[in-house]
Amino acid sequence: MIVVDPGVEGLGLMLAELVRANVERNPRCRALLRAPARSINVRAPDAEVEVGIVLGGGRFRVLPAAHARADLEVITDSGTLMSLSSTPLRFGLPDLMTMEGRAVTKKMLTGELKVRGIVPNLGTLIRLQKLLSVAP
């Protein structure tokens, strides 16, 4: 279900661990893995790290390198990437009723947080956010 390819370190292991913890604590998260598989890249240029993910088809698979072409790509600094997991969600997206949710939305509007491919892959983004969320 959670697959970590050989060579994955740091960020990739962290993402896999967050998903594993969520799936263990909340079995309903398993349903988020059932949609058709989509490719995702997560990049934190300030830390010079990037990983590829395949989400769907019953799995969350982390690859040691980014996909050459991904359906969805999340690019932001390492601090923002970390804060995304603790941002409260509403319908799977940052909750604008909270300070943290507004901060993330502002970063999207100012380009500090880029999400490429969001329009055709909004459902994938929502599933990813829910799987990585540690917000209370």
Binding site: M14, A21, A47, E48, V49, S83, S86
Partner: protein, 140 residues
């Protein structure tokens, strides 16, 4: 000035943790002990892995021990480990701990969601470590 790593350095670190209002606020809900592992670098004056343990509870440090055995240190709820020179970079604020974890330079064992929820507290611990007047063992 305390040498890092040493018991004297750990004592000063704990004193500063317990004096920090910022940490007390950021770690108000934190419950769990933490082992730091300063991995050996014999050419830099650290001939063996050094384990330091801190009992962190609701914004305070209730106790700490320097040079505990790995068996004792492994019992902690969280373990963070890196070679000595990486810790030196963290204390000197040349390496951000979040970036360090993402780059695989700092390795964490324990419940990651708890760390992510308390990232501000983790950053405060680094700020406090940076504030201890430090002489590094390889620079004496």
């Amino acid at each position: 000035m305390a040498t890092f790593p040493s018991e004297e350095w750990l004592v000063q670190y704990v004193e500063r943790i317990n004096a920090s209002k910022d940490y007390e606020e950021a770690a108000a809900t934190w419950e769990g002990d933490l082992s730091y592992v300063f991995e050996a670098e014999p050419d830099k004056g650290v001939p063996k892995d050094v384990w330091a343990w801190a009992d962190l509870w609701h914004g305070k440090c209730r106790g700490a021990k320097f040079d505990v055995t790995p068996e004792e240190g492994e019992k902690a709820k969280f373990i963070i480990r890196a070679p000595y020179s990486r810790w030196k970079q963290v204390i000197r604020r040349e390496l951000d701990p979040i970036k360090g974890m993402m780059q695989g330079k700092l390795k964490l064992k324990g419940d990651l969601p708890t760390i992510v929820r308390n990232v501000k507290a983790a950053n405060e611990l680094v700020n406090i470590a940076s504030s201890v007047p430090t002489e590094f063992v390889d620079e004496r």
